[in-house]
């Protein structure tokens, strides 16, 4: 492989890392509160609000059922509003984040639901406020599951980011399509796939280790 292609591969690798890293960060920041809210607003929970719970749930489902490639295109006006352009790596972060927020929300929701109700009750009996129950009981107890969920999110986003080429986002997937497939350079294709496999392995390994470190069950 030529030095030129190698540089291309390296650039694409960085683009992937930026897209995935930024959208994971945004998705965690918005998705964790979303998941918490989906749990505590449900029937019989700390801050029951069924109307809001059901409508947020429906929105989450709608976003999750929209194919990413359609979401990517449909969000172009919104992306332009936020980033100023609808083309490029930065622009790709917007649809990736929007797709990942409901995903993280559901994963966090599931993680929190696994926390034993007895712990919430014990905290209530100690005089904990709903905020304290969330920050001192629910999230710490669910942390290993939340970490596992975020690992799944990162891996999924790496897959989604391959489609970012449709808006000029670049990245490894885009490199594979444009050089490996369209220019028929099988060595580029192979290199892209190998780097992606290695990346996913590293992320999964790191995520598992981190989750285990916080798991004292």
């Amino acid at each position: 492989m030529s030095a030129e292609l190698l540089k291309l591969l390296l650039d694409s690798f960085w683009e992937t890392l930026i897209m995935v890293g930024a959208s994971t960060g945004i998705a965690a920041l918005a998705g964790i509160p979303l998941g918490v809210f989906l749990v505590i607003s449900d029937r019989g929970s700390l801050l029951q609000n069924l109307a809001l719970n059901r409508s947020l749930g429906a929105l989450v489902n709608a976003l999750r059922s929209t194919p990413f490639i359609i979401l990517l295109v449909a969000l172009i006006p919104f992306t332009r509003l936020i980033v100023g352009t609808s083309i490029g790596t930065l622009a790709a972060i917007v649809p990736l984040s929007i797709a990942a927020i409901p995903f993280v929300g559901r994963l966090v929701e599931n993680a929190l639901r696994e926390v034993d109700g007895g712990l919430i009750e014990a905290a209530q009996a100690m005089g904990a406020t709903p905020g304290q129950i969330i920050l001192k009981v629910l999230i710490p107890e669910a942390l290993p599951s939340i970490i596992a969920g975020l690992t799944i999110t990162i891996v999924s986003l790496i897959g989604y980011s391959a489609m970012a080429g449709a808006v000029g986002g670049g990245g490894l997937g885009d490199l594979g399509i444009r050089y490996g497939y369209q220019r028929f350079l099988p060595d580029v294709m192979a290199a892209v796939v190998i780097v992606l496999i290695a990346l996913v392995q590293v992320i999964q390994f790191g995520g598992d280790r981190l989750a285990r470190r916080f798991n004292h069950r």
Partner: protein, 393 residues
């Protein structure tokens, strides 16, 4: 629970038959042994300060279209510094009742008054403040798996906004008290059930509560561990003067630590009083059954049949209950010497309940009818309860 000191004497209990027999003619309770029904008078003794008052509490749950009434008008008065037991079978409403006491469940009707404060009048912030003064321990411990022993005990203090240095000063003696100082950095998954409950107790005591609620705290533990946890609760009650309310389905628990007990069935209190009185003179059917878990009174069927066959020739089957002072009396000797009766001892045991001796003898007496009547009258005078069990068929 055969290793408990109140050892049952017969493996084959015959609760149904015993219930039938016991319902027979009775010479009644002699004076001097207050029946549990009278105990309410004592609850209102002027010198005892009420710590928890439950007044007319009703709790209904909506279950689809139906309404389930878990509590149907419960009244209780629990004095400061006492260990009060609430016993009943599962589904009797005891769990709902204890959860009403700290408003984890809000009563549908009625009042809960803790140390003079009616919980229903409090706003959410005030209720949280009150709950800090009501410790609670649970059957499944409910410890945070993500926190060490030390951090679990520190949690209620963190929630109350106590500064870190102060938390350390409070948690360390508590860990000493419950005997877990050496396990402070372990996680709950690394310690035994009994140790987990000790953490639960230390955590419940962290905010220096006025009342400790114990929700089946020993039900998930083996008999040995149960005893050590009960001993710890008793020690805490004595050392700190803490009022303890414990619910349980195990009569042994009540016999070991409680001063007074209330028996629940179908959302109501059917009987309450001093533990000793309830044990020695159970009134309600459910109480008799529960007491039998500890004081096994039922006879093997074969023994009963043999005794009844003999009783046909004019002998009488008596249950003699000795309690308090009379437990030390040579009752049998007297029956033999003074009344010239022949006594065949069928079953007997003497236990200690709350530090007072309590015995029960089942005897087959034969002699002249006149002498036997005289013996009954004599024993009744001596504060010994004697009950004639009629022979069936």
């Amino acid at each position: 629970m055969s290793s408990l000191p109140l050892t049952p004497h017969y493996r084959d209990a015959l609760p149904a038959r015993f219930g039938g027999l016991a319902a027979g003619s009775s010479t009644g309770h002699p004076d001097g042994i207050p029946a549990p029904a009278d105990a309410h008078a004592r609850l209102d003794a002027p010198d005892a300060r009420a710590m928890v008052e439950v007044r007319g509490v009703v709790k209904r749950f909506a279950d689809g279209q139906r309404h389930v009434e878990a509590l149907s008008g419960v009244d209780l008065r629990i004095n400061a510094g006492e260990v009060f037991g609430i016993i009943g079978r599962s589904g009797a409403g005891k769990s709902t009742l204890i959860r009403c006491i700290n408003f984890l469940e809000r009563p549908t009707e009625g009042e809960i008054v803790i140390d003079g404060i009616d919980l229903a009048t409090l706003n959410p912030a005030e209720l949280r403040e009150q709950r800090r003064h009501i410790g609670m321990i649970f059957q499944h411990f409910n410890l945070l798996s993500s926190r060490t022993v030390y951090d679990n005990v520190a949690l209620p203090l963190e929630l109350a906004g106590v500064p870190k240095a102060e938390i350390r000063k409070r948690v360390e003696p508590l860990l000493e008290l419950v005997g877990l100082a050496s396990l402070r950095d372990r996680y709950p998954a690394q310690i035994s059930g009994g140790q987990k409950q000790r953490v639960g107790i230390a955590r419940a005591l962290a905010n220096e509560p006025k009342v400790l609620l114990s929700d089946e705290a020993t039900s998930a533990l083996d008999p040995e561990t149960t005893r050590s946890i009960l001993a710890l609760l008793q020690e805490i009650n004595r050392k700190l003067g803490l009022t303890i309310i414990l619910i349980t389905h195990q009569m042994q628990v009540v016999a070991e630590v409680c001063d007074r007990v209330a028996v629940m069935e179908a959302g109501r209190i059917v009987e309450s009083g001093e533990v000793f009185d309830v044990f020695t003179h159970p009134q309600a059917e459910i109480t008799r059954t529960l007491v039998q878990d500890v004081v096994r009174e039922a006879l093997p069927e074969e023994t009963v049949r043999a005794a009844q066959a003999k009783a046909a020739d004019g002998s009488r089957l008596w249950r003699i209950t000795l309690s308090g002072d009379s437990a030390g009396e040579p009752v049998i000797t007297e029956l033999v010497r003074r009344f010239n009766l022949s006594i065949n001892l069928l079953q007997g045991h003497v236990d200690e309940i709350r530090g007072r001796p309590f015995g029960s003898l089942l005897v087959l007496a034969s002699g002249s009818a006149h002498e036997m009547d005289a013996a009954v009258a004599h024993l009744a005078q001596r504060n010994v309860s004697i009950e004639e069990i009629p022979h069936v068929g």
